[in-house]
Symmetry: C2
């Protein structure tokens, strides 16, 4: 972003008009670490929040799965199905490790060639960033922007490593877990808590020789789900087979997602969940901003650097150190 920055007005108007270039620029501002970019992005978000019409209903779907479960192929197949049925689809990603791996996840629009060629689809790679908290917050703000730009179905991909799933879970309406067919795979790669969070489990690659294995995996998970406590949403998680490659099963999966949306909208969970998520993000944003202020305060930074080695060595209690640091902050 060495170009001249667009104005707040241009960005707001552009996003509301569905202009992809301005939308992408606004997201880049959200993802930036430069203070003037962050300030501009916040201004845009604030104005959009104030000006926006009563929003169209949108659906935010979190998608995770073990490496090799075919997430990109699945997202492309589901995305194509939606685009062909009149939806506008945004694909985002959270991958806290992407800064290390140079954004391999979705860094590759090339992996979604068909979908990325669609006017009604918007694909955005994972923002770089070291801390999950920061990356998650940026993604949450990006959801806000793509919805303001008229995208109604937001697919948020993540890797199956645990913490990032919790972040995605905290910003989506439905959580979908992609699995591989075949016994033995079941406990590998996927942390157990993730199975428990899922509203919909999809056994991918259920084609050809693997159909019996896929059925086995499906039964295994159906049984495993009985061990979990009932969900607050009262929804009973489903396990469905699919071949993202051939497209088989995608329609049924989308119908099930619709059933879930209807179920939770009717019983009030959908709105209640979004309200709780908004509160959670308010608190998260406040905490992130405060801790950033604190840890970048010169006197705090200084004293922390002095005391940390003593705390680590057990020479100063963490409480005594905290007290001393808070004193220089209060001044």
């Amino acid at each position: 972003m060495r170009k001249i920055l667009p104005t707040v007005e241009a960005l707001v108007a552009g996003i509301l008009a569905g202009n992809r270039v301005l939308l992408a620029q606004a997201i880049t501002l959200v993802e930036s670490t430069r203070p003037e970019h962050i300030a501009l992005a916040q201004e845009v978000i604030g104005q959009l929040a104030a000006q926006q019409e009563p929003a169209k209903p949108t659906l935010r779907i979190g998608i995770t799965g073990a490496p090799g479960s075919g997430k990109s192929t699945f997202i492309e197949a589901l995305g194509m199905h939606l685009v062909e049925n009149g939806h506008k689809v945004a694909v985002l990603a959270i991958d806290p490790s992407s800064s290390l791996r140079h954004g391999s996840i979705l860094g590759d629009k090339t992996r979604m060639e068909r979908l990325s060629a669609q006017d009604r689809a918007f694909i955005r790679p994972s923002p770089a960033g070291d801390a999950l908290g920061g990356v998650a917050r940026k993604t949450r703000e990006t959801i806000f922007l793509v919805e303001a730009a008229g995208y109604d179905t937001i697919l948020i991909e993540t890797v199956g490593v645990g913490q990032s799933e919790i972040a995605v879970h905290s910003m989506t309406d439905l959580f979908l877990l992609l699995l591989l067919p075949g016994a033995g795979d079941e406990l590998q790669g996927i942390k157990r808590g993730i199975v428990e969070m899922a509203d919909l489990l999809v056994v991918n690659k259920a084609d050809g020789d693997r159909v019996p294995l896929a059925n086995q995996a499906r039964m295994h998970y159906l049984n495993a789900l009985h061990l979990f406590p009932a969900k607050t949403s009262t929804w009973i998680p489903q396990v469905l087979p699919c071949s993202a490659q051939s497209g088989e099963g995608i329609l049924k999966i989308w119908e099930t997602i619709m059933l879930y949306a209807e179920h939770t909208r009717q019983n009030g969970f959908f709105d209640e969940n979004r309200s709780q998520q908004a509160l959670f993000w308010l608190k998260e944003t406040l905490q992130a901003a405060l801790m950033h202020q604190f840890y970048t305060h010169p006197a705090v930074k200084n004293l922390l650097q002095q005391l940390e080695p003593n705390v680590v060595a057990g020479k100063v209690s963490p409480f005594a150190a905290a007290e001393a640091i808070l004193k220089v902050w209060d001044k």
Copy 2:
């Protein structure tokens, strides 16, 4: 605490001399919510941290288990064994729900009649408190105080509900999970992540008719443990039977705990873990203090109360609300 408060000097000297009354008073100050008590407690901790001799080695053991697994009986049996072998034992508890249930956990020194009659044992019920963070921090400070008073083995009990285990895990050297004999019980009550955290699993009530069931449970857990990744400590978790009622198995458990301590002290994990925990508690303490300052700031409180309903109703974005609140705080 309507009495006149003891001075910092009296408390510090009393604790270093192992005076139980002054130790108990200092803990009450740590647990208090009154600013003058908190300030006094911090002063005491700071002075103890500065004055303390190179500390005697201590061992902090986290103990959890499903309701009915006999935690109190087990802690009493283990505590008595230690006291009889020259140790000074402190028993603490973390139970974030105890404010609701009026401190049922350990509220009952009566449940540990024999141990509480010992000069060399100090039993302290769970502090009241609504937020786990606060309760955990108080317990962490209490560990510091009892160690300064000369207790060398600290047993920290918690209930098997998940979050509190993570807190206890973050302040102990070894984590012990108490289990019931009998198949079917295995998946009940205990969250899976807790089994994964445990260094030592004890199948309690392995007596009389239940011995075969206890053996079954033991084999089950030995198998289950193979599924978990290796521990950073390189310690291989053990599963041991015990009858806390008769005392059978307690000696073997203590010997295993000693093996663990030796193993982790030799490979450096013990100290490294304590260092990391100290840093963690430094950061936690800073965060708790800052967030407390922030949320009790009158203008912040006021605006938050105004904006929260709009955020919940989706009329104001959480990011716009956060920005507005941060502005009144900066002033």
